[in-house]
Symmetry: C2
Subunit: 242 residues, 2 copies
DNA sequence: CGCCCCCTTGAAGTGTGTCAAATCGGGTGG
DNA sequence: CCACCCGATTTGACACACTTCAAGGGGGCG
């Protein structure tokens, strides 16, 4: 489930994700590689899309973590969604931006332009990968709402780590139980609707319980099966590999 | 802002909403009216789309309230999004359903088939209305996350009522300060990530403060300007009327 | 009339926030 | 190489928003 699917060794992780969503033609892969040649670097904490601005041209996250965020006038911050390598930015369906949100780099990020899909058999090709990527994005939003609305702080953290693991695995960026975690505890708090103090307490607790290990920007999850059960985790069923 | 835009007196509220999103051709309106002729009634509490089932054929909510909901194995329930008259069901982009969610009627609901859009000038027609409707749906998801993640119970209720007002106004179903509210306090709690007991307490408080009036399935909001400021409410800017 | 669902209210418990201070670690400049 | 600094993490004590549990009341409907 969490193993890399496409597994074309020379390919960017971001493109592995797209290739995992739908089989790509050689020409499309070439177009991706070509787009990646002229990539754009964004330092951490920099805004990628400012609030209310027209979306950037359609882009792909090549590396690094970004997020969509809502900032309240009194300073409260809520991270609305995560953007990981292989995720798309600015593929929105409508002309004008509706959202009172901006997109911010959480770590250093590299972006490249998203090649326009070409005609292909239904169910294959870049067009299908983009479609599925959008559907997954919506799925993750639903999961985020359920997480924040009904899970305890402890459960939110677990559920969130399981999702990150699932998503990074699509791009071959997470092994079965080891998940990169380059965020500050404050960013985590902003994503989960908590305070950084409380996030810290829960992480300590989980470590003491032997549920997770935290080392150098990595989490190791122990007994994933049990953890999934604990938070009633339902993996997104992307029909992979065919 | 919250006045009815399309205002074709004889038209269903649901269709007023679509007409407000994009100017429709006479033939498209005819197609809608025709679809409404064979509508489907769903009683309250009945499932419309079961979890994991393939989506129904694309449909329009003609009347009543429904919601997308996530049910946890231990009985916890979280309402993920609201479906109001004029909203679309099953317009998803991908073949298979990804979500571990179902769609349930909160009140009695009537549905009709969503006519396939026909070619039209960009920015007009049913196709555009469907597009914008989808974009709005995403926008409301973002708002829901920010609401649940960062607002207090009191603020969540206000913010949510302001959103319902905005959305119903699109279909000419809410006047400036009077908003239909046909949900039980328990359903409200499930939407806002609270308990029904606490929802009740906050509603009592708001009534005592003179912020709202509750009468017969209607809320009356007093001093909306101030309420918007209180929760930093950002209306969805649908460029209406042209 | 009596049942059931929903709303209402109280008292007590607890999960999470707030405030504050100490420690850690990595980078920078002297 | 050390001194310093800064942001991030860690920990404690206390406050409070929200939940839990429980009981009572009101209204519609068979």
């Amino acid at each position: 489930m969490s193993t890399c699917v496409a597994n074309i060794p020379t390919l960017e992780p971001a493109f592995q994700r797209l290739a995992a969503l739908a089989p790509l033609g050689a020409d499309e892969i070439a177009a991706l590689v070509d787009a990646a040649a002229s990539s754009q670097r964004v330092p951490a904490h920099r805004e990628i899309v400012a609030e209310g601005q027209p979306a950037v041209r359609p882009s792909i996250v090549l590396s690094g973590w970004a997020c969509r965020v809502r900032l309240f006038s009194d300073g409260r911050r809520q991270i609305l969604s995560l953007l990981l390598p292989g995720d798309l930015i600015g593929m929105c369906r409508q002309r004008e931006p509706l959202a009172a949100t901006s997109i911010v780099a959480l770590t250093a990020v590299t972006l490249c332009r998203a090649p326009a899909p070409r005609e292909a058999a239904a169910g294959t090709g870049l067009a299908e990968a983009y479609l599925l990527s959008g559907a997954l994005e919506e799925f993750y939003l639903f999961r985020h709402i359920a997480r924040i609305g009904r899970l305890s702080a402890y459960e939110r953290l677990l559920d969130w780590m399981l999702e990150v693991r699932e998503r990074l695995a699509l791009a071959c960026l997470a092994s079965d139980d080891r998940v990169p975690l380059p965020l500050t505890q404050e960013a985590l708090a902003d994503a989960l609707g908590l305070t950084s103090v409380h996030v810290n307490r829960m992480l300590q607790l989980m470590r003491r319980e032997g549920v997770i290990e935290l080392t150098g920007g990595m989490v190791r999850l122990h007994d994933i099966q049990r953890l999934c059960q604990l938070v009633d985790y339902r993996p997104g069923r992307v029909r992979v590999g065919q």
